[in-house]
Symmetry: C2
Subunit: 205 residues, 2 copies
DNA sequence: TTTCAATCGTTCCAAATTTCACAATTGAAA
DNA sequence: TTTCAATTGTGAAATTTGGAACGATTGAAA
């Protein structure tokens, strides 16, 4: 299948999260209109996103929650599991380690790395903290795909370089700074302050 | 000036953050190409974003860092300061309270609210934790603009309702769930897991 | 059985966004 | 002084995204 734009992928993941929620409430049928009400998106957009996969809805009825979820997951994740590692086990790192995200079965944080001797060997939410030097070895052994940066921004580029060296192909950067990496490595930046201010600008006018 | 689309606003905030960094390194001139290298965006896009404001660059020379930063800030923030409150002072809430974002002078977290008796009265990073019931009063007194949701998702909608009731016009939701609010209230969702998985999908193909 | 209302899937069009191409400007070097 | 290379700013083309319209399908009700 053709590669989908990031925007659609992100929305589809939101649908999957929403479908998980509906399943917990034992709602086994759902229409694009209902999904639209929950997510705040338009029903047409949702149908169009879904139609990128295969015909799975039935007119007049809607979608079977279970089937739709499975269809979206199959196309997007293809039975693969995401193995994450995190650099930095401070306040933010610990919070991410304990983040109760959806889709536990597909996403697993497999190791944390920290420079502080005092933290090495400790566990947070079932994940062991290792010295940074062991990152290349552990990343290879655990087949980690993506690394999270949760270190102070002064260390950000240095850690990013080390992540690339260790063989990671994706980086989610929570530090409020830009990093420079080879083109083959994908980066997502999560700067809280930029989000706050951008919302602020929106509501000002 | 005409209201800019959110995408441009977000990028301009990134430029401001970048310019702050350059100033710290005493770099007083910068070209769109250099900004492009740092941020990973294209130089044309950067010039076009900047041209929404006023002519501030000089051909062959580039932009004066200080002037460009001031211009962007003036148009976007207009000397206003952002007052934030946060609901939930658990792991994630504490991490946000300690987040070392840029632009400290314009962004201030003024109060935290938590349901746990044990936390009331404590301070985190200079911010006092209050009982949730005092939110409406404190939000009005401190002129808070935006509220952050950092509570478990089971409490998410309930807290969102309370935030709207308290007079907030913007919500940044860190819980992995959707919330329903009146149209006048703007919401930004920050679901870490969706970010991780969306990056994962990108690097898979 | 026929009609009807709800809903999906899709085509076409409009709007937003990005990229391209290039004229205009400017300091530096010949 | 003249030329040149670097850089800005911008109009137009290209691409992407979102929305409107609508035919097709389907179970329910008359």
């Amino acid at each position: 299948m053709k590669k989908l734009p990031r925007k659609i992928i992100t929305r589809v993941l939101l649908y999957i999260r929403t479908l998980e929620g509906l399943l917990k409430e034992k709602r086994y049928l759902v229409s694009s209109k209902q999904l639209a009400d929950i997510t705040g998106l338009s029903d047409v957009k949702i149908r169009k996103d879904i139609s990128n996969f295969k015909k799975v809805g039935r007119p007049r009825i809607g979608y079977k929650t279970v089937d739709l979820k499975r269809t979206l997951e199959n196309y997007l994740l293809q039975n693969n599991k995401l193995h994450l590692v995190i650099f930095g086990a401070g306040n933010l790192g610990s919070a991410i380690l304990k983040y109760p995200g959806f889709h536990r079965s597909k996403v697993k944080l497999v190791a944390a790395f920290d420079a502080s001797k005092a933290k090495i060997g400790k566990m947070i939410n079932g994940v062991r903290i290792y010295p940074v030097e062991r990152a290349p070895e552990i990343i290879k052994r655990r087949h980690a795909d993506i690394g999270i940066i949760a270190v102070p921004k002064e260390r950000c580029q240095e850690v990013a370089d080390y992540m690339v060296l260790s063989g990671l192909h994706g980086i989610v950067n929570f530090a409020p700074c830009s990093i420079s990496v080879p083109a083959k490595v994908q980066v997502r930046n999560m700067d809280f302050t930029i989000e706050f201010l951008s919302l602020f600008c929106d509501i000002q006018k």
